[in-house]
Amino acid sequence: MSATIKPFTDEFEEYGRDESRTSGEASSISFPSTEDEVRAILKKLHAERVPVTVQGARTGLAAGAVPHGGHILNTSRMNRYLGLRRDEQGQFLLRVEPGVVLSELRKQLGKKVLPVAGWDQASLKAYDEFQEAPEQFFPTDPTEASACLGGMAACNASGARSYAYGPMRPYITGLHVALVDGDLLELQRGEAFAQGRHLSLVTAADRTLELDLPGYTMPKTKNASGYFVADEMDAIDLFIGACGTLGVITELEIALQAAPAVVWGVSCFFDSEDKAVSFTDSVRPVLSHAAAIEYFDAGALDILRRQREQSTAFASLPALDKEAKVCVYVELDCDDEAQATEELYHLGWVLEFAGGRDDATWVARTEVDRECQRFFRHAVPESVNMLIDERRRTDPTITKLGSDMSVPNARLADVVALYRRTLAESGLESAAWGHIGNNHLHVNILPRDAQDYRRGGELFAQWASEVTAMGGAVSAEHGVGKIKAGFLETMYGHEAMVESARLKFQLDPAGQLGRGNLFSEKFLDELVQKGGA
């Protein structure tokens, strides 16, 4: 009952990198298929103090799954559905292993067919009710649907629909977390809370953990930066968004929602960014059923126009009007078509008020049209990745530079102005898109050479400072991983980083887990040498 720890030979090369387009080194790798196997592997590696990088589907953009030496613990083979129950409110709660892939989950929920092999009678009874109930869905929707649920929990993933549904955190009602020594925490939302900033947790081996939480205050924005800490917090929240630095998620219980009966997508086009920002500010209080408000800037639309002309793979993209400079996409989740139509007309009035035209919009009401809009939206990051891959052929030192920062509602215009001014001053090529409804844009620098890449990095550091000053977060949904570890100190300050590291050492005294994630290795090693003090 133990998974093999294999040497990290050439056949596993792909596991040295993830979607961040960065790569690292490891000496061994394993693919456990059960919680017990994970615990056995951790126990063995703990005895030898071997660093452990946890991997899911390796779709992360912050390099959290990229190994920095030691062992890769890949959970992609832990993909069983374990059981189903209903809570007191009648909500369906599904237990899964961390390697379950989001697109598969969506497919199963859509068909109302779950793999029930090995389920107990109580789960099978709940499953009968699930099949009779209205269609259920899981609202967290990162662009990359091949992400797995364990990885999504590790970075507190969000996606476009987080405007209405928030990040993944509240939909996780239970977690199993294997600790670095092989012990286990079984956490259920609503059962264990901090006393102020102190948590007492009892492990499966009946060991009591006394954890002092950092004292920093998190920003009131969309946020996936560093450990989630708050007074009297629910213990489960500490392990969501922890980037694989406190333990290994071996089981999740997720809360399903009733799927909206009507989903319409509306693409609105404007001839200036100012109008798009004004529209966003105005439409937010008007719409009651907006699930997503997304943005594509002029750079992003230009890339799509070029791709449509030049690549057969993108030839079926809908044609963009010449006057369309930027686009705001709004998704409406409604109870029925009458409600959706009313929301659509409200949106149209705000659009015209903001300087847009209601005849220059795309409204997707059918599955064919929604698929067309999905293709359009997903073609942007895909095209940027292709562009960067092309440029890497001539200069392998460059890679994609994508921001993930958010600010409070009142600072949307300020942060957009900041991006626009500093990008113009730098002369860097860029394309921005993302979750404007949450004041959360992914500004992507498209470096042409190593100099551009360096200057882009400097610009991101400047943005991290200014976004922090606006009350924002340096990572809103991708997690900090390795790529944004430097920004975390900018956001919370040095003392908060020391407190965070102390918390980590209470669970992982040798600093084995997720080396390079959240903290620089130098910073952690120095603390280890000081005995974690």
């Binding site: 809908p318 149209g348 209601d358 005849d359 220059a360 919009t361 795309w362 409204v363 997707a364 064919v368």
Partner: protein
């Protein structure tokens, strides 16, 4: 009266591949749930709307009318066509039309098109429907109206229309592709490659809500009941069924020539 009138025939088809059959009549059960515009007809409509854009650019007054025969619920699909840019729509709906084969459908559509307040210049159909796969309606309609018809059109060039009054149509043929020039009135059936149907705008949806879809019965269009529906259909469906599909994999081993001989035997066995 417009300078140029296009009629586009559309059909509501099931939105999924799971088609329900009526065990008694052996015809497809059309309950309107999750019905969509036949994808080939969607391309036909896009072709008409693109031509409309071109002709408006030439300073012409253009009208696109969408016509369908179907159950009452088809009205919402026709309204959707108006939201996407069609000017008006006619729905032929009557129990008398039920169970129609392509001949009876053609007859009903012809009656409906003749009842429009304006003759057409161009009649456009999708080349086939994804549920019936007959590809007969477009050519049959052309025959009924005694006008030329070009099938499987993948590209329409309108540039020369104002000077010579004809459209250049690129269409599939036995030799591959050819370009033909047609004067109006004429009929054509479209391939999907001709264009993806544009999405409606908010303004279009508003306009569609305010436009009446004309809904007519067999009697309204003076259709002879004996030529409609099952009564007017010489095609008798004896049985409809989903073909069994089985896949097996067999490894062929040996030298290249031995494998070729074995493969030939397998293929012969399939005949």
């Amino acid at each position: 009266m417009s300078d140029f009138h296009m009629v586009v025939c559309v059909k509501a088809v099931p939105g999924s591949t799971e088609v329900k059959m009526d065990p008694k009549t052996n015809t497809i059960v059309r309950d309107g749930k999750q019905a969509v515009i036949n994808p080939f007809d969607a391309s036909a409509l896009e072709c008409a709307l693109a031509l409309k854009d071109d002709f408006i650019g030439f300073g012409m007054d253009v009208r696109v009318t969408v016509v369908s025969m179907g159950i009452p619920a088809t009205e919402s699909l026709l309204r959707d066509c108006i939201a996407r840019g069609a000017d008006d729509a006619l729905l032929l709906t009557d129990r008398a039309f039920a169970g129609a084969d392509t001949l009876a459908t053609t007859y009903a559509l012809k009656c409906g098109i003749e009842a429009l307040d304006e003759d057409f210049d161009l009649l456009i159909c999708g080349k086939m429907a994804v549920d019936g796969d007959t590809a007969q309606i477009g050519p049959e309609l052309a025959g009924a109206f005694e006008i030329p018809c070009v099938t499987d059109v993948s590209c329409v060039q309108s540039a020369g229309f104002t000077t010579c009054g004809s459209l250049a149509l690129v269409h599939g043929c036995d030799a591959g592709e050819e370009t033909v020039y047609l004067e109006m009135p004429c009929a054509m059936t479209t391939a999907k490659e001709i264009g993806q149907l544009r999405m409606p705008s908010i303004a279009g949806i508003r306009a569609a809500e305010e436009t009446d879809v004309r809904v007519v019965s067999a009697a309204d269009v003076n259709a002879d009941p004996a030529r409609c529906g099952l009564a007017g259909s010489p095609t008798q469906v004896v049985r409809s069924f989903v073909p069994d599909r089985d896949q097996t994999c067999k490894a062929v081993e040996g030298t290249a020539s031995e494998q070729a001989v074995e493969l030939a035997k397998i293929i012969e066995g399939m005949a």
